[in-house]
Amino acid sequence: MAFLEVRELTLDYSTPRGPLRAVDSVSFSMEKSGTGLGLIGETGSGKSSLVMALARILSRNVSRYSGEVFLDGKEIMGLSNDAYRRSVRWKQISVVFQGSMNGFNPVMKIGKQLTERMLLEPGADRNGASEKVLGLLKDVGLSPEVFDRYPHELSGGMKQRVAIAMALCLDPRLMILDEPTSALDVSVQAQIMNLLKKLKWELGISMIFVTHDIALASEISDDLGVMYAGQLREFGSAEDVMLRSADPYTRDLLASIPRLHGGVGPKFVSGMAPDPIDRPAGCRFRERCSLAFERCVEDPPLRPVGGGAVGGAPAGSSHVARCWLVGAGSAS
C-alpha cells in the first residue's frame, strides 16, 4: 500500500473568462513514507494549486475540486470539511507556505501561535504544549527566547524556521513545502535546506517540496514530478528524471539551468505556456517543442519510459513521461 496516492485530482478556478483548469486530473503516488517528492515547473504550471488541493486549502473561486487522495490507504477527499479539519489538517498534513514573512498573526506572540493548534487537541495542557514547542524551536535552530517574541521582531530566515517548527507541532505524516525558500537570500536558503534534510532524516517525515528551482528540488527529493500547463509531464525517481529525462519539456527545463563549468551556456525554453483558459488540444508543449511532429495534435498519455505499455498508467516510482516519442526509441 502506497503512503500517498493521488488519483485524477482536478481543480478548476472560475474566472470572468470562464473556468480555468489549474490541475488537470493529476495522478501520482509516494510509495514509502519518509521520502521526499519534488514538484517542479514554471510559474502557472499548477504545482502550487496541486499541493494546495492536496491540503484542501481552496480559495473562494474554486469551481471544481474532484479526484481521490489516499493517505495510508484511507481516502481523505470524501471527508466533510469539518471531519477533514479535525482529523487531517496539521495532524496528518501540514503546510509551510511560500510567504512565511507574512504568515504570522502580527499581534500574537510566536509561542501562542505555535501552541494554539496543539491546545485544541483533547487532553492538551498548556505546559506540555509549551515544552514541546520549545523543543521544536531548538530543533529548527532557534533560541527559546523566540517563544515570547512578536513576529515583527524576527528576521525572514527566523520566521521561516518558526513556520517549519509550527508545521511540526502535531507530528504530521506529510509536510507540504510550497516554495519555502524562494523569499530568502542564498545563504539562508542553504541553511533552511540543510534543516529540512536533517528533519526528513531524523524525524522520518514525508515531504512534498514545490519549487521552480530544479537544483534545490534535487537536493531533498527522492522522486521528482515535472508539471506543465496543469498536467504532470514526467514523474520518476530524481535520478531518472534528472539524468535520463524522457520528456522534451523536462530536458529543455534542465538545459535552462546555468552551469559553472562545461562552456555550454543556458538555453531558454522559448515561447509561453498556452493560455490556461483556452488550451489547444493535443500535447500542450507542442508549440514550443523542437521535436514536435504530426502525432502531437493528439493528447499524449503518461507512459512508462522504456516500457512498451500504452495507456494512462498512474505515475508511481516507476519512470513515466507524457510524450509520443517516449517508448518509440527515437526521443533523442
Binding site: 489538517r89 496539521w90 504568515g103 504570522f104 498573526n105 502580527p106 515583527h152 513556520a163
Partner: protein, 350 residues
C-alpha cells in the same frame, strides 16, 4: 521605556492641540470684532439697567450723564474693552487652562449662578450621556454588522449596506433629527419632539431616569444613524483586507475553526484601526451633537453653545465650551493612544 516616551510625546502634542484650538477661538472672536460687539452690548445693557436707580439719587440730568459715562468707563476698563483684542483675549485663554473660568456676562446656571464653571459644569453630564450612549450603540451594531459583512463581501447584502453607508455618511445630522421629529413625534406621536423630561416630570428617581431615556431615544437614534454607516464600512473593509492576509490562510490550514479564525486572527488584528475609526467617529459626533442638542432642545453643552453664540452672546462661555469640547477630544485621543499601544505590539517601538 519607549512606550512611556511615545505616550509622553503624544500627550504633549495633544496639549499643543488644546492651546492651538484656544488661540484659534480667540483670533476668531477678536479679529472679526465679535468680541468687541459682544462686550459693547453687555455694557449698554448694564447701563440701561442701572440708569433708573441712578436717576433716583442724581436729579441733575447733566450729572447723571456724567455718572453714567464714568460708570461706562469703569465697565470698559473692567471688561478690557479699552485695550485691543489681542492684548485682552490671550489672558482669558490661560485662565481657562487653570479652570478659572470666571463669570458669565449674561447666561446663568439653572440654580442662578453666573460662574462659568457652574454653567458649563451642569451641562457636561447631559451631553456625555448622549455622546457615550450613541458611541456604545454605534460600536456594538457596527462591529456586529461589519464583521458579518466582511465574510459576505461582494454579495447583494454587502452592496446594499455599503450604499447605505455612503448615504449615512453624507446625511447632515441635524436634518436627520428634524426628519425623525417630523415622523416619530408629529406623524406617529409616539416619541417626544424635544426636551429632557416630561412636564411635569414623574416622581421617583427611577421613573425620572426612564423618562430621561425615553426623551434620549430620538437624539441618540439620530447620532447613531449618522455615525453608523461609515463605521460599518470601516469595520467591513478592514476585516475584508485582513481576511486575505497570509496569516489567515495559515490559521485555516492549521485546522482552527472558522469562528476562532475570525475572532483571533481577523478581528483581533483589525482591532487597532477599528478602534481608531470609533474614536475618530466620536470626534466627528462632537460637532454633530451640538446641532442635535439644539434641534432636540437637549439642555447639554451643545445647546449652551448655541445659546452663547446665537441667543444671548457670551464670549466667556464660548471660550469655556470650546475648551471643554477640545478637552473631550484630547482625552478621547489619549485613550486611543494608550489602547493602540495595548492592542498592537508593533507600535511599541520607534
Amino acid at each position: 521605556m519607549q512606550v512611556v516616551k511615545r505616550l509622553l510625546v503624544k500627550g504633549l502634542t495633544m496639549l499643543a492641540v488644546l492651546l492651538i484650538v484656544q488661540f484659534l477661538v480667540v483670533i476668531t472672536l477678536g479679529a472679526t470684532g465679535y468680541s468687541d460687539r459682544m462686550l459693547e452690548a453687555v455694557i449698554s445693557e448694564e447701563l440701561r439697567a442701572i440708569r433708573p436707580s441712578l436717576a433716583e439719587t442724581i436729579r441733575d440730568p447733566e450729572r447723571l450723564e456724567e455718572a453714567l459715562t464714568a460708570r461706562r468707563d469703569e465697565l470698559v476698563a473692567l471688561y478690557g474693552l479699552d485695550r485691543a483684542w489681542h492684548t485682552r483675549l490671550p489672558g482669558m485663554v490661560f485662565r481657562v487652562f487653570t479652570l478659572d473660568l470666571g463669570e458669565a456676562h449674561t447666561l446663568r446656571s439653572s440654580s442662578g449662578s453666573n460662574r462659568v464653571a457652574d454653567i458649563v459644569g451642569e451641562r457636561i453630564p447631559k451631553s456625555m450621556l448622549l455622546l457615550t450612549t450613541s458611541m456604545i450603540v454605534t460600536a456594538a451594531i457596527g462591529l456586529a454588522i461589519g464583521a458579518r459583512l466582511s465574510s459576505r463581501a461582494g454579495t447583494v447584502l454587502d452592496r446594499v449596506v455599503s450604499s447605505f453607508s455612503a448615504v449615512s455618511y453624507a446625511l447632515p445630522t441635524w436634518w436627520v433629527g428634524i426628519l425623525l421629529i417630523l415622523f416619530f413625534s408629529f406623524r406617529l406621536g409616539i416619541l417626544p419632539s424635544g426636551g429632557m423630561y416630561s412636564a411635569p416630570p414623574p416622581d421617583g428617581s427611577f421613573l425620572r431616569f426612564l423618562d430621561l431615556l425615553y426623551h434620549a431615544l430620538l437624539p441618540v437614534f439620530t447620532l447613531v444613524l449618522a455615525g453608523i454607516g461609515p463605521y460599518i464600512y470601516v469595520v467591513r473593509t478592514i476585516s475584508v483586507n485582513i481576511a486575505q492576509a497570509d496569516h489567515v490562510t495559515v490559521a485555516r490550514a492549521k485546522g482552527l475553526s472558522d469562528s476562532l479564525v475570525s475572532r483571533r486572527h481577523i478581528l483581533r488584528v483589525a482591532a487597532p484601526p477599528i478602534v481608531t475609526g470609533l474614536v475618530m467617529g466620536f470626534a466627528g459626533t462632537l460637532g454633530g451633537s451640538i446641532l442635535v442638542e439644539t434641534v432636540f432642545n437637549w439642555q447639554g453643552m451643545g445647546r449652551l453653545y448655541y445659546e452663547a453664540i446665537a441667543g444671548t452672546p457670551d464670549e466667556m462661555v464660548i471660550v469655556a465650551l470650546t475648551f471643554v469640547y477640545t478637552l473631550i477630544y484630547v482625552v478621547a485621543r489619549m485613550i486611543l493612544e494608550v489602547l493602540y499601544v495595548l492592542l498592537d505590539p508593533r507600535v511599541r517601538y520607534g
